[in-house]
Subunit: 354 residues, 4 copies
């Protein structure tokens, strides 16, 4: 049995799309079939979104994408004005991105661990596994503690996850966790600096949840910091109202997909006739046949009045292959040249008094 | 093109497990291979959970299961003391179960609609589609409005989703939406009456979210009802602490799976050495190979210290086939005969002052 | 490490559909959604096929279905005039069915072997694994040798796989491998006795292939027994011409699906305007999105003029769950009551002189 | 409704890996997770195969890969000594590659056809559909006729599919269907010229099957050309014996995967202790959980003594994305620089007298 140190050797390295000009490759895929053609069309729709300077680009993240080596792709999109808002699971943002921003890393697990053969031993070593990736659980507990520390520093009131995550960005900045100081760049930090709001609609379902529970437990009977998921929804809807043309760039499905799609209906309920999402791309291997939202087609979303049919594309592919290709294509096509960030966080910067 | 009325004719009928004794069938599957054997083992683990009278059974629901005809299965499990807490997506509980409790129905869509051929026309008719199922969007808006009405009736403070859903149960009771009055029985009502708490960790991501946004918008600048997802997490963790032996019965993955698994760690963070979930079953067609939680094995969860390896079983099957078989097996085996409900809602009935 | 004997203890038991009346259960599924509704419709289409006494029912078998506990289901369908021809992979017919007819068994593998953790040790023990099932490789070699023995007994000329498999049936009969003598009933034997032809279009791709190669090697330079796959195709096409109304009952996809569908086109090429397959059911978890035939929809087959659109149904389910339900439904509905077997083998009994 | 001409406008274009140097991109994927890492490892294993000059590389093709734009990739691998034998479904070789070599093309189908909405109309227009690709059925019938013509030109005796396909290569050459004459290059032609044998173990299950059936029907009662699938198996086994070090490069599963793996056992049966396949790569989206061979892990194959565990890699990806990346990686790494083709067809060129 290897030691913990032996198991946590090979680090996940985040791919740098700036180094890989795949424009010709992806363009060639446009005249093939199956996933390659769909990928090429999705890439060209993303390029269209960026050239449509009215369009606010909402990136939706489900699954464990940051731990898988996609952190830098997302940071690069944010820093190059190619994403205006993020809706994510908490795991990507807190357990993985903020965690790496604190200086910790994810590790490559050997093939033999993929299917669970070593999980009992990993448990004993306090190594957590995500499919073929390892995390040091002790480091994750330090991350939990950091979120508790941030929570304790806040005025006790309901916060949207967006507000809380902005505080996490400020924390990184204040504590010098910046690339200038030799740290890894992070999504939380880049979004903080670029006024790109991040929403985690199920925010307690991650490392921050542990910090929040510890906070609420320590202060039971007293006023506490709380996370108002309705406020998240209200805020994202306000962005849709402020910037009616929108496009969705989705990795996986789950809550982020549903949440981002739903703002069209929410705007309608607030009396604003909002247009459907004009563009929508989803990368997923989920199957439509179990009726679940994750694999449901974007056409289905159009029956709900959420997504327009003209520029939508599902890509049947695992995201660590497909997303670098799509993002690198859009980056090297330079469709965002004329584009400035939407600074959506500023739209919301006044404590929304809902 | 058919009319809306023509399209909304054939109602989804909820299967009644009490009518189908599948014990011999499922027992026969135990000596076969692949999904049949896994299903049989999962069914026997559920039976074990029920015979272990210490065990609190947590049902996790992702996907669109209630609209698919599984409402009555779940109601029957609740009314027969076979489920002690529910963690769900909002859609199952509000858009589908509460919606049906209000008197509305889901409809069978023709095969030709499954893959999106008619979605533009459905949009024009205000018919929403879930794969092969139709919903009248006008009725869904009435459901949204009911959640707004409930929200407006509440004292303005942060609520856990559990507290809010209990109010929905009270609303159904108060308004006579009960089987005695000829209404469909509902999960929300049955849980209300049986003190089974329901948690929706991403609660604004459903029909209730629309009601909450409308409420917060109408009262912007004033105190509002908010939904504290951290409180949800804290409450569910308290149940784990109060009743250390637990079993998970999971349909699909997503946030409910993650959330329910995480309470083991959360208890630990509160200084209580909690045992892992002793039993765990998951029915899913999700694939492990995209690294997402939904398809991740229960063995993987054991590396995180969340699920014990001894009695865990994944079942690779679409839930509308597998869940009635497993639930009917457990019902007709009568393993819950010695069991009383855990009345978990009473553990939490004092407004938790976190 | 367990011994070979310890690993080969628990036998796969073949489910007996005659013991499980699932008519009410499956009928209830018809008003649900997703796979349950599709399964119910598939079952009712199979029932229709049987009541349409003109219809010749062609069962297509891919995957490892016999080793998984479905042998008896298929035997029961054959013996009750519910199947008129079989198109299969060689593995199901030779390595699994004929193998069991020789007295050998398949074994239940522990969950821990499913994902390959013990494969190196299994190799050392000469235990072959099919996912969660074990086979004694030494016994399989005896099966290979039996096919060589049969081959050596034949006149040297090209045979269709159908002819060869009929010889295997005769071998079982001659050697007293019959239920009357206390042996397991087998598909090969039942089909032999009921004049149900079995085709394996890729016949050398199984245990029989080993026997044939050994035969051809031993007789190199001399006339040999050969397996003419074109003759298979010609024979099956003749059945389509002789009995124009046909229905397909397919487990999995692969070569059997393609081969059976193609006879409509082949008849056309022979100048006979053949009707498309009037009924078609496929149980599969294969995905349409990789463009492969196995997951391709039956609608796609209709574009090729192979399958009629009116009575076709794909069922997204693993076959060990879905097929017993569909077969038991059809058996207990007794739709075959008025039906006699088509005795298709007799149509071909004269050595086809092609 | 569009006309046939309108529907058959946009041609599938075959991707040219020589134009896309993806070495850095794929190398970057080696330190990521999930499919990207697996793809990178598969690419490096293919590179290793090529640098191991002892190794005979066997390419296995299932699914509809040639129609999807992968013809040129395969031609380039053959012409650059990167593939020594091919085992394929008949569709790829005859209906798709030989078909294009005759001058016909595959066409891009609009998104709206993917799920079968237009199949009845396509039927009326004699347009066949493969997921998102169209074929002119009238042209396919000409292809069928060409195979009949070739069949009729042959001496009547049993042929391996390998022998028959070599005749198809000769036919293309004789009839000037060569790149020098401005024709598309083809796999059948390139393999013919490079002495790379092609095996289709289920050969009648394709366009050639129609030609063969027509031939056998026209000559019924007289000696005919037959296709001996046992001879295929014997021949491929001879190659394994002649060149013991082998590697498998597999697109999809099905019969080609099984057939190529089985030759290790077949050699053993002939008394030659053959080494397992030293290298094995498979690209597939098939799931292991239905127990079928297509999705079964290469570890499972090692329990059968067919594939060595050291250098094996499954890649969970649709092949039109993954295969160009892997092939382009190997091409631009130039690992085949020291390699000459194995000229396996010459090993078999004497009519094998089995």
């Amino acid at each position: 049995m290897p030691t913990k140190k032996e198991l946590l050797q090979a680090q996940i390295q985040h791919i740098d799309i700036k180094q890989h000009n795949v424009v010709a490759l992806v363009d060639a895929m446009a005249s093939m079939a199956y996933s390659s053609r769909d990928l090429a069309r999705a890439a060209s729709i993303y390029d269209m979104m960026l050239r449509d300077t009215e369009c606010g680009v909402i990136l939706c993240l489900a699954g464990s994408m940051v731990s898988a080596g996609l952190q830098k792709v997302i940071v690069d999109l944010v820093r190059n004005n190619m994403v205006d808002a993020i809706v994510s699971t908490g795991a990507n943002i807190v357990d993985q991105d903020f965690f790496e921003a604190l200086g910790y890393r994810h590790y490559i697990a050997g093939e033999e661990y993929k299917y669970g053969a070593g999980d009992a031993e990993l448990r004993d070593l306090a190594i957590d596994r995500i499919y073929d990736t390892f995390i040091d659980e002790d480091e994750l507990r330090i991350c939990d503690a950091a979120t508790e520390k941030i929570t304790n520093s806040l005025e006790t009131r309901p916060y949207s996850s967006r507000e809380f995550i902005a505080e996490m960005g400020a924390y990184l900045k204040k504590n010098g966790r910046t690339p200038e100081n030799g740290n890894n760049d992070s999504i939380v930090l880049a979004c903080y600096e670029k006024d790109v709001p991040i929403f985690c609609p199920a925010f307690s379902d991650c490392s921050a949840g542990f910090g929040l529970v510890a906070h609420q437990h320590a202060r039971r009977g007293k006023p506490v910091v709380s996370i108002d998921s309705a406020k998240d929804f209200y805020e994202l809807t306000q962005l849709k109202i402020a910037n009616p043309t929108t496009g969705l760039l989705m990795l996986g499905g789950g809550v982020p997909k549903n949440f981002a799609q739903d703002i069209v209906v929410a705007a309608d309920i607030l009396g604003v006739e909002a247009s459907m999402h004009k563009y929508a791309i989803q990368i997923t291997v989920a199957d439509a046949r179990d009726g679940a939202l994750s694999g449901s087609t974007l056409k289905e979303a159009s029956s709900w009045g959420k997504v327009d049919l003209t520029y939508e594309q599902m890509v049947f592919a695992e995201a660590t292959i497909a997303f670098p290709l799509i993002a690198a294509y859009a980056y090297h096509k330079n469709g965002a040249a004329e584009r400035t960030g939407k600074l959506f966080a500023q739209v919301l910067v006044e404590p929304v008094t809902a």
